[in-house]
Symmetry: none
């Protein structure tokens, strides 16, 4: 029984994912999901409270993955200006993004471009804000460690920077035709540009 329940749950999830990917949140109807999955419309409501919950369930793996990435970046070891000069760090950053895209290309596209109408429609902004808060904290700590550094940076600007990161990801997932090499070149531009920018702002 438990098993059966799980199977249905998974079926719904899989089908819903396909449907949402194909048409976006708003243009996907519960009926369509029901039909495609062969599971009674009202039965879906036994597994998911409503359309929005179903949508969130589809994107849950991606979002929890992203949450992980956030947490990884708040450790002590990152509190250093040398990061800006570390080729390793840059390579790692690129690799993180590339693998994110590799694993969640479709979900990212869904989340970033086709979530209108759902409670995740503001994801980008919400997470940019999250990241902004972290960054401000980071700056504060940096200031404590390196008092000579200029850290009076507009939080709004930082917000756009975070948002830009999502734009970058969005750009990649929007272009299936990009080869890994092109992505690397792209990311390299991004990192170089950003690093130079940060150095300038911090005055280091």
């Amino acid at each position: 029984m438990q098993k059966k329940k799980d199977k249905i749950y998974q079926s719904i999830l899989v089908v819903a994912r396909e449907a949402f990917l194909e048409s976006g949140y708003k243009n996907t109807s519960m009926r369509a999901i029901s039909k495609k999955s062969g599971i009674g419309l009202s039965n879906i409501y036994n597994y998911f409270k409503n359309k929005d919950e179903l949508f969130k369930a589809v994107l849950a793996p991606l979002i929890s993955h992203i949450d992980c990435l956030y947490e990884q970046h708040t450790g002590e070891e990152y509190l250093s200006l040398e990061l800006f000069y570390s080729k390793d760090y840059q390579r790692e950053s690129i690799e993180t993004m590339v693998s994110l895209v590799r694993n969640f290309r479709n979900e990212l596209r869904l989340l970033l471009f086709h979530a209108y109408g759902s409670s995740l429609e503001n994801f980008r902004d919400v997470y940019s804000e999250k990241y902004t808060v972290v960054s401000i904290e980071f700056l504060k700590n940096i200031k404590a460690k390196y008092p000579e550094v200029n850290t009076s940076i507009s939080p709004f600007f930082m917000h756009t920077l975070s948002s830009w990161m999502f734009t970058t990801i969005g750009e990649i997932v929007s272009h299936d035709e990009l080869t890994e090499e092109e992505i690397s070149e792209f990311m390299s531009n991004y990192i170089n540009f950003g690093t130079a920018g940060w150095k300038k702002l911090l005055g280091v």
Copy 2:
């Protein structure tokens, strides 16, 4: 008579603007506009072919303004690396944006965040692309003038840069509480960051 017609046209436009601003394109119904304006629902269709046209009419001033800005930036005089060092140019850029925001704050918000469902829902991407094309042309000309400059920059990256500009504008219009001073600080960060980034990429 002509006058009266114009009056009605304007009424619709004004009310539609308010309504769209309040609820976005998709969540604003023609019925609502009709009710709010006191103008018969079907009569609205005597003035605007359909909801989308009405929406575009509301945003027409903003968009034509933006189109102007584009054209101003394609002149010969901008073909110089010194722009990156010119305080005047930077000040001018800031002023341009600030005044854009001053004059079209609400419209910008509507266009950038609440156009889903309309034919302008991809505005940001479309105009980023427009700007990207212009930028690539610019790079080509720069290369001709200064052959030593590195201009092999990913067009995808450039696209995100253009998009980032809209993010920046969006950020400002999303925060009514920002004082002019804060905006300036913000924009200054943006310009400094961007300038440093560009210099780095171009190798100048």
Copy 3:
């Protein structure tokens, strides 16, 4: 003044004709006619009581022409069985139809196929009936003149024969690609077939 009035009247008529030909009665809106003609929508109603009257005005020349044809065929001289053997009569019949088509191709198409919604939508049936009545009269007179002839023919059948004539016309006007020669062959088939049929029924 009078002239001016006439000019407008004609303008409306001309434009309405084009519009009706293009889209049929039902799918042509008064608004469209107004726009195309540049004549105020409500002003059209000063010249034509309503859409239907306008439509009938467009087709009036054709219909009065058809009415003429009817009247021509009720004369004394046609009361003879020799008609069925007269090559001249057959040639004349063909010529009548061919010239009808030549002069009113578009109107015929409009009347026969695109009058739905108008008071002429039953034209075909109405005129078939008219013709049937005439034919019955004809048969009665023939019977008086040639008592040996069998004239007990179902009026309903005669109705379909009349209707078939319109089908034939409709077929021709539906095929712009038909050459005059093909039309003649076509009509010749029609006449031969019909003549043989009539002879059989009448037993002559």
Copy 4:
């Protein structure tokens, strides 16, 4: 449960049939069907994709019956000139039509006269064409079997002949007052007329 579903399905069908018969396709609104049947408007869409599908469902029995008749007439046994002399064949033809009319009088009226706006509005022409194609094939085979026969007959003429058959059917179903005897007389006229016509054209 299944039963109930079927019941509703049938209810809609029955009511829709009545409504369409009464007012034709175009002048029957889904709302009206909803009201008459007591079934929620939107619920109807759970059973029929749209108005047109509902209409086609109403006429499906008739159309599939007609399709049957077509297929029956393409057999080898019909490839003979003797058909034109066979009283049996003629009697059979009459009986076929009479029973068609008996079983589908109202549907035929609906299909032939009141389908405007639906995807079946050109039924008559479409099926006339179908029948024309079959007839041309028939002529070709006849020519192979009886080379002396004249088979150069305008396909356009044949099209009108097919169409005339529908006119004939239409005539019958338009007149409820016709007794079976009158119908037979009528059909007899039709067959005699047509047979004589065909003989003449074929020169047999």
